[in-house]
Amino acid sequence: MDFDLPADLEEYRKQVREFSLREFTEETAMMHDIKEKYPDELRKKALESGIIDFSNPWKTMLGIEEMCRVDPGLGISATVPYFGAEILMLHGSDYLREKYLSKVATGKMMMGLGVTEPGGGSDVAGLKTSAKKSGNHYILNGSKMFITNGGIADFFVTLVRTAEPDVPSKRHRGLSVLVVERNFKGFSSNKLTGKLGVRATNTAELIFDNVEIPQENLVGEEGKGFYYVMEFFNISRVFVAAQSVGIAQGALDMVTEYLSSQEKKGVPVSEELKFKLSEMATRTEASRLLMYKAASYLFNYKPNPTITSMAKGYASETAAFCAETAMEVTGMTGLSTKLERFFRDSKIMEIWEGTSEVEKIVISRMMMRGDSSE
């Protein structure tokens, strides 16, 4: 078993790190955090510099990790304009891929994914937004909550109910995915402000008031939406693991530097603090290995939802653990430096794209069904 990444990926990782260190300055990160402003200029720069590269999913994953290691808010912002793209890639018609996806890939458009509703996020099948067929259109009514890029994206890959389930207990049936454009009549969004962290990202509520959606904006087959979204989560959760590993590593970098500099200054560093550093380092490495394993299954076209949920769940808890431990170890220094931003940013990892509890539900269900992690 070889744990080293191929040379081209190592080289790519180095390039992203250099880009992030150069572009994600403390001043930029702080300004976007304070003002809750999306860094559009960084999105463009990242794309132009070639470090956003969809040709190789390993690169996407490593790129996310390295960017979040320097600044989670900016790192996520630079990589999130494509959020939901895999659904179109895998199931969109040629028309949809040409009309929307190609423009996202070249940076001419931004997209978002609308699954969560005010009434629930974990319980995806419980969604209320409905699309009723009327001639060659769907009429969409309802709302989506906490949608990343909600106030700035050009279109949203949106999960809606197009039919009542044939069996009442099978609520996941009758759901479909539609592409909803921001400029469709009846669409509106409300920016959500006052987030604890990742404040550079844009989050909004989407409201659909009799929005007419052309039939050709249906993604894949009617009634298969739930499966498409679950399949997507199996992909995106690996990338959330990458965000988390990046945050954990960033916090670890700062604590290592802090303790080393204390020692250099002649301030004794207790074993207690060194043990905390060891635990942070071990958990970060374990998360990274789980992420690699999940990625390896996924990128070789044999996704393993159990391992994916383990990777996302464990890495996200590790991100929060490392950021919190870093605050504890560095005390006042952490409070007055960028570490506090890492702390605020880290908590979202345990919430979005499947909360920690949801990941545990998936893991235990798969284990008890006999779908083990091997």
Partner: protein, 331 residues
């Protein structure tokens, strides 16, 4: 809890329900308003623990802690304001014989900020530095070269909000000093910090209660997969465990005495507050991540206060030494 203490808890709760509850979000966004500082004085919170010779109410330790506990349940910033005046600033002024200024602070006509980064571990010699900046404030207490100084001058408030205690304008504020006076040695301040373990614990426990109460209420009404969250065993068991721990520690707070026990509670309650507030936020899902729901502030404040008040090395060493009765835990 005796009858008198219970009455105190009820009275402060009533005040908080009427005066703070609906404004707590505004405190976080815009800072605690001038009128509220007056209200703290009118309620007798400022000076509550101080001797009558200083104009104080001479409340016993538990009575004072009841005030801090309740305030922290609604606004940790408000609790910290009362604590920093009563337990740090006023004793320092009085110790330095500056009774006139202390009187002004008691009346609310003068407010003094704390330059936190220089107070404790001595690691943060930043400029600008992390400080409370209670508006409008022309004075600040800071530590320099082993001395505690009262500095008069002008604050330049940071536009960056800090992690915690936003109601007090804590941030990387700058201060242009015009004159300064010595209030004592750094050790006198450390002694006050160390000597107020009970008060600090009261704040940690109060804010934990504020967060957990919100989580309990939320998990009664929020449904996923057709059931309220409270019906799921991990949610119900975890929150019940946290409530039990809170109950034990609250009982300890109001029934035990002594420096060692105070240190024990401070170590437990600061850890606990981080755990409790994190779970409370988590069970709110995405809503927990938004300021509007008033739960994320407890999570931020628990960590910020741990950094401000709990010195992981110093306090744990002091506790270890009191248990071993000799020098320990220093390697």
């Amino acid at each position: 809890m005796n009858e008198q203490l219970q009455m105190m808890m009820d009275n402060v709760k009533q005040f908080c329900e009427q005066a703070i509850k609906d404004q707590a979000i505004t405190f976080e966004r815009e800072g605690i308003p001038e009128s509220m500082f007056q209200a703290f004085r009118d309620q007798g919170f400022i000076g509550a623990n101080l001797p009558s010779s200083m104009g104080g109410a001479e409340l016993d330790r538990q009575g004072y802690d009841a005030i801090l506990f309740r305030l922290a349940e609604y606004s940790p910033s408000a609790a910290f304001y009362v604590y920093m005046n009563n337990s740090i600033i006023l004793p320092l002024l009085s110790g330095a014989g500056m009774n006139d200024l202390a009187g002004e602070v008691m009346k609310g006509t003068v407010r003094i900020g704390l330059a936190s980064s220089n107070l404790l571990e001595g690691t943060g010699d930043h400029d600008p530095f992390l400080s409370t900046a209670v508006f409008p404030s022309e004075h600040m207490i800071k530590v320099e070269n082993g001395k505690v100084l009262l500095v008069r001058g002008k604050f330049q408030h940071a536009d960056r909000k800090s992690l915690g205690l936003r109601g007090l304008g804590v941030g990387m504020n700058s201060f242009e000093a015009e004159e300064s006076k010595e209030l004592g040695r750094k050790e006198s301040l450390e002694k006050l910090m160390l000597g107020s373990s009970w008060e600090q614990s009261a704040i940690f426990l109060g804010l934990s209660k504020g967060a957990l109460d919100k989580a309990i209420e939320y998990t009664k009404v929020r449904k996923t997969f057709n059931y309220p969250l409270k019906d799921y065993s991990p949610v119900a068991f975890r929150l019940s465990e946290l409530m039990s721990d809170l109950e034990f520690m609250t009982h300890f707070l109001f029934s035990e005495e002594g420096e060692q026990k105070g240190l024990m509670l401070k170590a437990r309650s600061s850890d606990f507050s981080r755990k409790a507030t994190k779970h409370a936020l988590q069970y709110h899902g995405g809503y927990g991540y938004l300021e509007d729901f008033g739960v994320e502030k407890f999570y931020r404040d628990s960590v910020a206060l741990s950094s401000l008040m709990f010195r992981p090395e110093g306090d744990k060493k002091a506790l270890a030494e009191s248990i071993y009765g000799s020098k320990s835990g220093y390697l």
